[in-house]
Amino acid sequence: MTRNRVQTVDKTSFMKSKGTFLGAFIVLLALFPLLQFVTGSLNYWLYMFLYTFMYIAMSSSWNIIGGYAGYVSLGHNVFFAIGAYFSGILLVYYKVSPFLTAPFAGLVAMVVGLAVGLISLRTRGSAFIISTIAMIMLVKISLDNWDYVGGASGMSGPFLQISREYSKMPFYYAMLLIAMGAVYTSYRIRHSKFGLGLRAISQDETKAEVAGIPTSMYKILAFAISGLFVGIAGALWGYYLTYLKPDIFLTIGIATHMVLMTVLGGKGTVAGPVVGSIAFIAINEYFVTELGSTELNIAATGLLLILVLLFFPKGIVGTLKERGKLPAVLDWD
């Protein structure tokens, strides 16, 4: 009797410690920018952090359709572009701040995801992937030819009216918020019946269907949800750049990064995209500062992805977990 009680107490305190650790970490992250008031020279770090938060949000979102459901989307930056242009138009033509419109941009992206998903998720694997690629091209050509938003040359928006020293801070907090939101969403899905159904679909869709799982609905839902935070991120990023151009938002690089970071960190796990984003951005920064930015970066990204796929298909988090070496603080599955 006493033995059981001790065990239960241990478990709750263990869970609590994981929770408090993470909570403390987030509080630190929230307080970090305030140092800028003191030193004024943290702009580089603020940029790196907010950039990382953004990718954490996007990779975690991609993971929902690409990792949990096993449907690889290579056109995910369509949501990024839609979010950016939605808020961008409202900013330039109606002077409404993207900080206000970003959530709606996310919703718009979600609706688009729903519509596209209804069409492209009627087929299995390969045709879906192709349709995501076609999706990017469709949107890119449409935007290139749409003069209202400046076509291929794009359009520039007004700057945020804060001095340069502190202008990154609102973006920092905004990105931190969406990162937390995306990871939390991913966590809740993973631990739900919905998430279980998605995993079943990724293992064997026919069997899942036979088992009574509403595969079509789940897939479409997953695809739509995966667009939400990417859309919001796009809206915020467009404001940060103060410039919208189809080229910037629809380059294959963004989609590549989302895929790579998730796969590197661990496709299908909650912590994977987070770890992968941090790891990749750090590695990339290192290479760019040491070796300069050339076309070989693209090749190196591809090479890294192949090596991970062939030798560590479960990614950092997945492989560590398999070998029992995953630190408990990262085990969110």
């Binding site: 009627r122 192709i130 076609a134 050339t294 076309e295 090749a299």
Partner: protein
């Protein structure tokens, strides 16, 4: 739109259709045999385009003649890639998102390496026939496109004959239709897959050589091409050579009309819209089978 104009646009579409069909046939062949969606196909075509371009620039080698180089080179390259990347995978992992991600990464590597060596300058070969035209009456045929389409259709017919009448071709067809049955009659399915992959990239090599004088190219252009070609094979039915042929002509002719009425920047849209339409109406494509293998 007058009749002459309509005919002219039709002609322009037809002369391009063959080339697109050639590009798509390599892609659909590879899918048909081993269920691999080779996203790197277009980037490999561009490799061939660069080989052709360099040969033309440095040795004055006619781009069309260069297919005698690019086809074998790309065939060997493709077979080698297959052995290196795909042969080692267990066959159940073969079908699935893993192969897509692998070919995706491959495309990135090829793009990066090409960009490093050749930079992002837009390139194009310009043999005499590239800007020349054959004219009769009030219609004209761009000479380069005309030659390219003839050769493309010729190559596709050669492919068809190979598959229909040779022992290896039959073995490849068998593997496409039922890999287990092929194994049961003694076909070395692994070897056939490697040959088919090489064939697919070899055909891409021929297409690349022609691409070098028909279009401008640079390392990053392959994404646009791959999107078009993938849409083409989904439309035609993945794994169906007939589908690739018919689908290509249908879409290039449509795109030509779109270009006439709305301007050239809108014409690629034809392919992508067609993709979504076919997914709505008949997801397996024009000549495709109802259910994929897995």
């Amino acid at each position: 739109m007058t009749l002459t104009e309509a005919l002219q646009v039709l002609l322009l579409g037809i002369t391009l259709g063959g080339v697109y069909a050639l590009m798509a046939s390599g892609l659909t062949l590879v899918f048909g045999v081993m269920r691999i969606v080779n996203i790197a196909h277009a980037s490999l075509m561009i490799v061939a385009a660069y080989i052709s371009f360099q040969a033309f620039k440095l040795y004055d080698l006619d781009p069309i003649l260069s297919i005698f180089i690019t086809i074998p080179v790309m065939f060997l390259f493709g077979a080698g890639l297959y052995k290196l990347l795909f042969a080692r995978l267990p066959s159940d992992a073969r079908f699935g998102e893993l192969t897509v991600l692998l070919t995706f990464s491959l495309a990135l590597i090829v793009e990066g390496v090409l960009g490093y060596f050749f930079t992002n300058t837009y390139r194009s070969s310009n043999p005499s026939y590239a800007t020349d035209a054959i004219s009769f009456d009030t219609l004209y045929l761009p000479r380069g496109q005309f030659y390219a389409t003839l050769i493309s259709v010729g190559l596709i017919l050669l492919l068809w004959a190979f598959l229909q009448f040779t022992r290896t071709g039959n073995a490849i067809r068998a593997t496409m239709q039922n890999p287990t049955a092929a194994q049961v009659v003694g076909v070395n399915v692994e070897r056939m897959s490697m040959i088919a992959f090489g064939l697919g990239t070899g055909l891409g090599g021929a297409a690349g050589a022609m691409m070098s004088f028909l279009f401008t190219f640079y390392p990053g252009k392959h994404w646009e091409w791959v999107a078009i070609l993938l849409s083409l094979i989904v439309l035609g039915g993945m794994g169906s050579l007939l589908g690739a042929l018919v689908g290509s002509f249908v879409l290039t002719i449509s795109a030509a009309y779109v270009s006439y009425f709305f301007g050239p920047t809108w014409s690629p849209l034809t392919f992508f819209l067609a993709l979504f339409v076919i997914l709505l109406v008949r997801p397996q494509g024009m000549f495709g089978k109802k259910m994929e293998a897995a």
